[in-house]
Subunit: 395 residues, 2 copies
């Protein structure tokens, strides 16, 4: 590969990671309780306790050679069956184990999917604001990221701009809803409109355009919000999922890829995914965590804290005069910067020990991401500092 | 990437996998006890029981957010420290946590290392017989595999042939000792000779040539056999390790890359490895299994069964007139085919319900691999069939 690119990727810390490291240093200096660290999207509520129980049961009752052994490359059959049945129940779909490929988490789901459908030099559309690693993963697959903005103030897709960039080189479009970093959820109308535009483009350019739906936050929605299930609207869909957030297991690297059987080419795409997993060095997803899936497929961590945090933070900041979209999902609040330069805003916040990520690396200018997957007390304690920040901007 | 290549890799079953599937079918037909399946290199002895205890202790005593949380990309600091200290004690080396990068197993160690040091179009030397996936991993990194034979009857490297293929495009050399499939261990003399040839080639061609030592079978050696620790002989060494075999955890995907600090460029190479891990979609190694490392770093599964199997199988087959090198490590016996065509030999063995892998995919003609990581009774029961096979060849 391009060894210079690898070196650069290894040396360059992300803005998020830098802020996080700064926060750790600052906490050591002035005390954890005095730093309001909203930099990182790490779940702050534990995995369901049934999960630990199931792990210990597997270890004490099952044959260790099978618990820790290689599974088939696509994953343990009962885990895949459990996922298919769970999706079919929830969304009225018609999936089988053969449509699913278990992975080492969402990042793996994405690099594998992209490697399976993107040829060298082709384009992949992403909607800004986006998770910054998308550009890295697209480039690994030999693709070129093309950014299309979402619209203020609801952060739905800008379809006019989308239509302008679609062309004969477009291999795929990535969506991420609920969204990191905006907290927006694409409405059913938006997904319908997107599907019809992509179908037209497929016809116009005489090629497949895959819709890759990155859904680690699918279950993390508030109130009556529903996340449309994309395979029902667009046949050439590949869903990338991870249990990192829903079961609070980000370090365990367990997720899946689902290739919609509504796509007449799905078997070839599925083969490409198996091949890409093999080529990139993913032999199988971690086996112990595959084996807890049948037991845990219908569980989530207790998300009520995130909803409480969202309400407290959104309402308090709105009252102070800050502007933001009320997040409908995920655990991020995308705050409009009171000055055009988001980096300057993030630096000013630091003066009040508030650590929030400027939006530039998410492909959007003039915002800051607040990760509210933190203890509620931290938000309570931070409000006075946010108040001072608001005053500095005379909000 | 090349989506056609991905599809082909996903569709084409390996010979090993095909034989294994045939075995499963045959077992269903005539009974497990009547099929002598030596096709797959899956550990047949369980993980140490302390490992399960440590997992349940972590789950009950430690904070689940930390147990299952993201670690830093290079891996949990105490796990890396434990590995460095363990290596320093055993081999008199001088490693620190900063030289280690934890991975999702040996395949990941290899794809990451190759992506970090191989430029598009460069060559990577492998010694035949070799693990067939090496060619896949090298091609993913954009490299070209160049095969150099080992010599019958001791399966040490053929240095004359090696010298012939080294050139200004050689980026790396992979060794695998103890070897899959031959069971050979490269002697200290061989490693010294290899090192001196590579050092000369580095000077002659004015470039770095990395020695990538793939060591999942390091601890699996018999009698007084010692596996030389390669960083002591050659500075530009990258070690790829996995706990799959030593702790019988092949499905859990946990291993490491070690970049020798004796290489003056090690920091840049280490950065390249961090970057490649990121680019390929490996966020971190599975966190729960990272966290058992400090406790388990000095343990192995009980290998005595493998040694017993080796002795029984090697001695019995030798007595029947078969030729093979006595394996010094790993759990494979590389049997010389009594006829030039190894595939024909493997087919004949099937008549007696013996499943052994013809050597062609390992890059060597005229042998068959017997994986003796099976219950000893299977070997005992199979001997009569091997005897018939020997008779068919009038050995």
């Amino acid at each position: 590969m391009n060894t210079g690119r690898m070196r650069e990727l290894g040396e360059k810390r992300s803005v998020i990671r830098e802020l996080f490291e700064y926060g750790n240093k600052r906490k050591a200096e002035i005390g954890v309780e005095n730093v309001f660290d909203f930099s990182i999207g790490n779940p702050s509520i534990p995995a369901p306790k049934e999960l630990s129980e199931e792990i210990c049961r597997l270890l004490s009752e099952e044959n260790p050679l099978s618990v820790h052994g290689y599974t088939s490359a696509p994953g343990d059959l009962s885990a895949r069956k459990a996922v298919a049945e769970n999706l079919n129940e929830r969304f009225g779909t018609n999936f089988g184990a053969e449509n699913l490929y278990l992975t080492c988490g969402a990042a793996a789901s994405l690099t594998i999917s992209l490697s399976a459908v993107v040829e060298e030099g082709e384009e992949v559309i992403i909607f800004a604001p986006y998770f910054p690693e998308y550009t890295v993963f697209i480039e690994t697959a030999g693709g070129k990221p093309v950014s299309v903005p979402c619209k203020w103030p609801d952060f739905q897709m800008d379809f006019e701009k989308l239509s302008e960039v679609l062309n004969e080189k477009t291999a795929a479009v990535i969506i991420n809803s609920p969204n990191n970093p905006s907290g927006a959820v694409f409405s059913e109308d938006s997904i319908k409109k997107l599907s019809s535009i992509l179908s037209e483009a497929e016809e116009k350019f005489g090629r497949k355009i895959y819709l890759i739906s990155d859904e680690p936050y699918r279950e993390l929605v508030y109130g009556k919000t529903e996340v449309p299930f994309v395979t029902k609207y667009y046949n050439d869909t590949i869903i990338c999922y991870s249990w990192s957030k829903s079961l609070s297991l980000p370090g365990e690297r367990i997720g899946y890829i689902l290739v919609s059987p509504e796509n007449p080419d799905w078997k070839a795409i599925y083969s490409g995914i198996c091949g890409a997993g093999r080529a990139l060095g993913f032999v199988c997803a971690p086996s112990l965590f595959q084996k807890i899936i049948p037991k845990c497929v219908n569980m989530t961590s207790d998300f009520s804290v995130y909803e409480k945090n969202r309400d407290l933070l959104y309402n308090s900041l709105a009252e102070m005069g800050f502007e933001a979209v009320k997040p409908e999902g995920a655990f991020y609040l995308f705050l409009k910067s009171p000055e055009p330069d988001a980096k300057a805003f993030s630096e000013k916040a630091k003066k009040y020990e508030i650590l929030i990520v400027p939006s530039d690396d998410f492909g959007t200018e003039g915002f800051a991401r607040i990760s509210y997957c933190v203890p509620t007390e931290q938000i309570e304690r931070s409000l006075q500092s946010f108040k001072k920040l608001a005053e500095e901007y005379s909000l």
